[in-house]
């Protein structure tokens, strides 16, 4: 089934600004469902969705699962350990087996860049990329952008800096594509050893010093520092990272403006971000999590062929999206 977004959501690179706005707009009416006592609408009733997680994930998997259940889809979770994957099954065989079970959608998280596309090219079901290697994590990018839009309104000209390990971050890539397409000014900040060498060709501003980034930015999206980066020799230590690149209250207080703080989680408190910043008045970290469910509902709904203008109605009770699937 191909809707307004095409068959799959593999990344924000391939979407237009208009398509991104469509997803954000579609997410708006879905936000309210999660605030109800009975958090369920029948928009995807009868659809079967597999959450195929080859990499560990708590937040993203649960967020997708809630989104699917609140749309009344039937869901199955498959994780790499305890499945045929741990017995050496290849991704292509996993894909063929899923296809043979006639499922409607696959949400895939995988450690290899390009894995979601690999799957999407080989099965007819809709594929949603829930993070592929260091490539993209489009729903995270979308929920970050939705959270920014909630606070800023139009993102055109707004200054957003992504801080940390850009080199290995799929979240950074999706944010850069999405924000750029909506007209925001985007910067990255981190040690050069954790920035792609070709970062200057991304069309983003680059800050080597976090103080300069804070001076410039209206919002900071602070990325998690993976501990394996230290053992791999990209940076010397977590302690030094905090001293040189950490988002601290003291650094933020030096500018006399409010700066919005985002973090895709899970946080290393005291490493990339200090607790009093994460828990502070300008942190929207929990709002991101709330928005995550709405964004994923919107993506599932649109990929299933739901009409964006019907999202409001679908939320009222009719399985309108389903009708469009026939």
């Amino acid at each position: 089934m191909t809707g307004t977004l095409g068959k799959d959501l593999l990344g924000l690179e391939s979407l237009t600004g208009e398509q991104i706005r469509l997803i954000l707009d579609t997410a708006e009416p879905f936000k309210e469902i999660s605030e109800r006592a009975i958090k369920k609408v029948p928009a995807l009733r009868g659809s079967t969705i597999v959450n195929l997680f080859f990499e560990n994930s708590t937040r993203t998997r649960i967020s997708f699962e809630f989104a699917e259940k609140r749309l009344s889809a039937d869901t199955v979770n498959v994780s790499a350990s305890g499945s045929s994957v741990s017995k050496g099954e290849t991704l292509v065989d996993t894909a063929r087996n899923l296809e043979a079970m006639r499922i409607d959608m696959v949400v895939i998280r995988h450690s290899a860049s390009g894995a979601a596309k690999f799957l999407a090219d080989r099965i007819e079901s809709n594929v949603i990329n829930a993070g592929d290697g260091t490539h993209e994590h489009p729903t995270q990018g979308l929920l970050d952008i939705l959270t920014l839009r909630d606070r800023f309104g139009d993102l055109k000209g707004r200054r957003v800096c992504i801080c940390g390990d850009i080199l290995h971050s799929r979240v950074a890539r999706s944010n850069i594509w999405g924000l750029t397409k909506l007209g925001a000014e985007v910067a990255v900040c981190g040690p050069r050893s954790l920035l792609p060498n070709a970062i200057d060709d991304f069309g983003v501003r680059v800050f080597e010093r976090v103080e300069e980034a804070i001076e410039w930015a209206e919002a900071l999206n602070v990325l998690r520092l993976q501990f394996e980066r230290m053992t791999a020799g990209y940076i010397p230590s977590a302690r030094e990272y905090n001293r040189v690149f950490g988002i601290t209250r003291e650094r933020l207080d030096r500018v006399k403006r409010d700066i919005l703080i985002l973090h895709p989680g899970p946080m290393n408190r005291g490493v990339e971000i200090d607790s009093d910043v994460a828990d502070g008045p300008h942190s929207v970290i929990l709002a991101q999590v709330t928005n995550g469910v709405a964004i994923r509902m919107a993506v599932l709904y649109l990929l299933a062929g739901g009409k964006p203008e019907l999202a409001e109605a679908a939320k009222g009770g009719g399985a309108r999206g389903r009708e469009d699937r026939e």
Partner: protein, 436 residues
């Protein structure tokens, strides 16, 4: 063996500065005459009208997988694929299983090559025992058994000391030491060129410098030792500049480039197509242009395929986990004609020089010339025919080609080794109108 008369073709033989319509008479496995030859008693006549007749192409860099991976290629299928691509001889890299690092293994390759009765197959011996980069293999015994060069191809010689010793020791046998230039700590984990595309795709890149550091190291070691270092599959503009630097100083360095590095860029990887994954990786347009210029001016001495067949399901997987390498024997000529000759970078004389004459000279092999008395290794090709690449029709067992589905110009019509026809195209005039 019946004599053969190649009638009416355009003879392109840079070894004699020939580029004109001329007949070639072959007798007893040798070139018996070149010029206007009306008839020859009892000879098979091959009509070469509209075709180019040249010294046989020699590919100094291919992987025939036998022994060890006969499921993906054998010496026989590889030698037939070579013949179908217009190659009269190929040099087989030693990264077999077991590694071709001793005289018995070298002798096995020689014998399997003779049994194939297709293109000639010359073994390349390993530089180090087991290609492990530690202990020097027995160059002398391997040379005696038929090895024409040494290389640890696929595994870069990380130790400068081992490379130095190899260059010194190889001098006795006057064979080139071939290096796969890759600084392993810089390239570790990489699966494509490092640049904007790798950064966007989230794939770990291999910087051009990983190659260039080893290129200059090897050139300096050649200067130190006086040995002949041959640099395999050059892929970057920087490498070209370093080789030029070395040659200007009279250092004994030679180099090769592959058709894919002359025709494709990192953009080809954008959809994670594992058939565009090889090592060294596809680079940028700037690199492609520098390499084209270097083939023209001789900074790069020759064109070699790095033919590397893989089983289809080994390639049918996540990009970073897929093996490196593509097949090249049956597309090399067409890729070079389409991208270099038709695009105006090379003449047919240049092509024959880089694919036949220079390989024979540098590796001290028969062929490379159609002078009277030379071995009758001849390639006859149709420079104008357009054809669509269909890997299912390859003589090679490998199907992993980035040119799949592309329409290319130029194709081998007939391949002759030591006076015997080992390949004849079904579609060309040389096939249809033969037999006098």
């Amino acid at each position: 063996m019946k004599p053969v008369l190649l009638k009416g073709g355009t003879l392109v033989d840079p070894s004699q500065q020939l580029n004109e319509i001329a007949d070639v008479f072959i007798k007893d496995g040798e070139i018996a005459g070149v010029g206007r030859i009306e008839s020859a008693e009892g000879a098979d006549v091959i009509d070469c009208d509209g075709l180019i007749v040249s010294p046989g192409f020699i590919d100094v860099h291919c992987h025939l997988r036998e022994p060890g991976r006969e499921d993906v290629e054998t010496i026989a299928t590889g030698a037939r694929a070579a013949a179908a691509g217009g190659f009269t001889a190929v040099c087989a890299m030693p990264n077999t299983d077991p590694v071709t690092d001793n005289q018995a293994a070298v002798g096995f390759i020689v014998r399997q090559g003779q049994r194939a009765k297709a293109a000639r197959v010359y073994p390349i011996g390993a530089i180090s025992v087991g290609q492990e980069g530690k202990v020097l293999a027995e160059f002398g015994e391997m040379f005696g058994a038929g090895a024409v060069a040494v290389s640890d191809d696929g595994k870069p010689v990380a130790s400068a000391q081992l490379m130095r010793t190899a260059l010194e020791y190889a001098r006795t046998f006057r064979i080139p030491v071939i290096d796969h230039c890759e600084e392993p700590t810089l390239s570790a984990g990489g699966s494509m060129n490092e640049g904007i595309v790798s950064a966007q795709l989230g794939l770990k890149g291999i910087p051009a410098e990983a190659e260039e550091i080893m290129v200059i190291r090897d050139i300096l070691l050649a200067r130190l030792t006086g040995g002949h270092v041959h640099l395999a599959h050059m892929s970057t503009k920087g490498s070209v500049e370093l080789i030029r630097w070395g040659k200007e100083r009279g250092i004994n360095v030679t180099a090769e480039v592959c058709p894919h590095h002359l025709s494709l860029t990192e953009e080809r990887v954008r959809d994670y197509d594992t058939n565009a994954k090889m090592n060294p990786p596809l680079r940028t347009q700037k690199d492609v242009e520098a390499l084209r210029g270097a083939v023209k001016d001789g900074t790069i001495d020759l064109i070699a395929t790095d033919h590397a067949p893989h089983h289809y399901d080994e390639k049918e997987r996540e990009f970073a986990d897929a093996p490196n390498g593509i097949v090249g024997l049956e597309t090399a000529l067409a890729v070079v004609i389409t991208n270099l000759v038709e695009a105006g970078h090379l003449t047919y004389s240049d092509l024959v020089e880089r694919m036949a004459c220079t390989p024979a000279r540098l590796f001290n092999l028969p062929g490379g010339s159609l002078k009277r008395g030379a071995a009758a290794d001849v390639t006859i090709f149709d420079p104008r025919v357009h054809w669509r690449v269909d890997p299912a029709k390859f003589a090679s067992k490998g199907r992993n080609s980035p040119y799949n589905g592309m329409t290319l110009a130029g194709r081998a019509a007939c391949t002759i080794v030591a006076g015997s026809v080992v390949f004849r195209s079904e579609s060309s005039s040389a096939a249809g109108k033969g037999r006098g």
